[in-house]
């Protein structure tokens, strides 16, 4: 009952604000190339999907985001694990990672286009580069967070280093890794759009740019809408996986409240 009422209010607020936007834009006669009315955005959205144009570009962006995300996370996790588990790697290589981290990765996008061309490869590399850093930092923090008592327990059982890693350090690091993946996913989408801005033959970012050249502002808004929904869905996926894997994490128990708000 309570829930039904909440949903009704949410829908009502949405409808009223869309309607209000429509009225304001029409009443003030704002030109479409400055701020399109919600109805114009809706029409652009419908046309885009009806012609199959949006699906094609959406798929391209989705594929490069996911591929880059997987590659970047794998890379980030491996590098983080290497630093956390090996003193020498930490001493000799971590400074370079820190240094590289402070470079805004999107600034490398033009270079990557030079190296890898305008195709999918170049965008995937760019996404991977952007997505890998949150995971490096979180993996290092996570793998180092196993507490002394638990390590002593494992040692007292004569556990080997690899057993301590698999049975203790890795599960302890998982909450950190999952938090890192959440950030990486958001970064991945940003990386994908930036890569498409810089040079691409397909994708939602490229679409926004070409619409911008054609003064198709309603179209741009419609693509932005798709992007925000895409970002939300990707984030939800990570949260779902996270809750499935980290059912034992007691701090996780306090989160359902927050997550319900997102739906």
């Amino acid at each position: 009952m309570h829930k039904g009422r909440d949903i009704a209010i949410t829908v009502a607020i949405f409808c009223v604000s869309v309607l209000l936007g429509e009225l304001i834009v029409r009443a003030l006669e704002v030109p479409t190339y400055i701020l399109p009315a919600p109805s114009k955005v809706a029409i652009a959205l419908w046309r885009g999907f009806a012609s199959g144009l949006y699906q094609k570009h959406l798929l391209h962006t989705l594929v490069e985001t996911l591929l880059g995300f997987l590659l970047g996370s794998a890379l980030g996790f491996s590098l983080g694990a290497a630093v956390a588990l090996n003193r020498y790697v930490e001493y000799f290589f971590y400074p370079y990672i820190v240094m590289f981290q402070s470079v805004p990765k999107v600034a490398l996008a033009p270079l990557i286009v030079v190296w890898f061309g305008l195709g999918l490869k170049s965008q995937v590399v760019n996404v991977a580069l952007v997505a890998c850093f949150p995971l490096i930092v979180n993996t290092i923090a996570g793998l180092k967070s196993a507490d002394e008592d638990r390590i002593n327990l494992m040692r007292s059982l004569a556990a080997s280093r690899s057993q301590i890693f698999w049975m203790l350090k890795l599960p302890t690091a998982l909450p950190f890794v999952m938090a890192g993946l959440e950030v990486s996913m958001i970064f991945a989408l940003i990386g994908a759009i930036v890569a498409e801005f810089v040079g691409s033959s397909a994708g939602l970012g490229m679409l926004i740019q070409s619409m911008n050249f054609n003064m198709d502002v309603a179209g741009q808004f419609s693509v932005l809408l798709i992007l925000s929904i895409l970002g939300l869905l990707l984030n939800r996926c990570i949260l779902l996986i996270r809750r499935r894997i980290l059912f034992w994490d007691t701090s996780e128990k306090q989160q359902p409240e927050r997550e319900r708000v997102i739906i």
Binding site: D149, R150, N152, L153, M154, R155, S156, L157, A158, A159, Q163, M167, L168, P171, W248, D249, T250
Partner: protein, 279 residues
């Protein structure tokens, strides 16, 4: 003030000189010293400690905090190496973690992603011991400590006392030669603690393990142990060994017996005499 080493040895051997069968000592510790480097030289955590624990004996080590009890336990668990001297388990020196020792720490240290049963089976997994028999043994042990219904729950669903019982069960699952307990009930409230003492006695009578139990509670030590080793700090050394002759199974009411009170106050008096409790 401080006793000379020979006096200490004399005292300890006095209590140990009773006719003993030829069985090997479960634990024998000889001239064990451990120092930690610090800013002003070397801090002696343990100085030339010697004692023996017989097979199946329950020995408590009691002392104020900072007397080196935990260092002693870590050496026996193979987590630390002594600076000097030697500790042996069933005749072989302890130079590192060993699979025939079960340790119960101050906190339960359960892994939150494993169920109670999986936590109990952790030593079995680590030591790659095969099989169903351990699963059955684990369920049996859980029944012994009254947790059979919680086998498939997760640690966070259990109270502190229950968690510590799981930890004890885990220390027993691989059937170790010796159980080392480092103030296992220190974090529990007084009433739960008494219940845990009864439970531990029950387990011990049932399984007849050699136990070395470290605590800072004199009544707890006297209630549980066959023999209480008295440890004083700076430097950590064992200054006395007191035999407790109260018949088992002991009930909580045993704490009111005159011999119980006499033993407790004689141990307390030793700490006072050595100024060990002065801050």
């Amino acid at each position: 003030m401080a006793l000379t080493l020979d006096q200490i040895r004399g005292q300890i051997s006095l209590t140990e000189d009773e006719p003993r069968s030829v069985t090997m000592d479960a634990i024998s510790v000889r001239d064990l010293s451990k120092g930690y480097p610090s800013r002003d030289g070397c801090v002696k955590a343990l100085q030339e400690i010697s004692f023996r624990v017989k097979e199946g004996e329950f020995v408590a080590v009691v002392g104020p905090s900072g007397c080196g009890k935990s260092t002693l336990l870590k050496i026996l668990a193979g987590l630390l190496l002594p600076s000097k001297g030697e500790a042996c388990l069933r005749g072989t020196p302890i130079n590192g973690p060993r699979r025939d020792i079960g340790v119960v720490f101050q906190s339960p240290v359960l892994l939150s992603w494993r169920t109670v049963l999986q936590n109990v089976l952790l030593p079995v997994d680590v030591q790659r011991l095969a099989g169903d028999s351990y699963r059955r043994a684990a369920l049996e042990l859980l029944t012994l400590v009254g947790l059979q219904e919680f086998a498939h729950r997760y640690p966070w669903e259990l109270s502190g006392g229950m968690q510590q019982r799981v930890a004890i069960t885990r220390a027993l699952i691989h059937d170790p030669a010796m159980l080392l307990m480092d103030e296992p009930f220190g974090a529990l409230d007084a009433m739960t603690r008494e219940q845990m003492n009864l439970q531990l006695q029950h387990i011990w009578l049932e399984r007849k393990k050699t136990v070395l139990f470290i605590t800072h509670s004199i009544p707890e030590a006297v209630f549980l142990a066959d023999r209480v080793l008295v440890m004083t700090p700076r430097p950590g050394r064992i200054t006395d060994a007191v035999a407790v002759d109260i018949p088992r199974p002991r009930r909580l009411e045993a704490m009111n017996l005159p011999e119980f009170c006499a033993t407790v106050s004689s141990i307390r008096a030793q700490f006072h005499a050595k100024g060990a409790l002065d801050a």
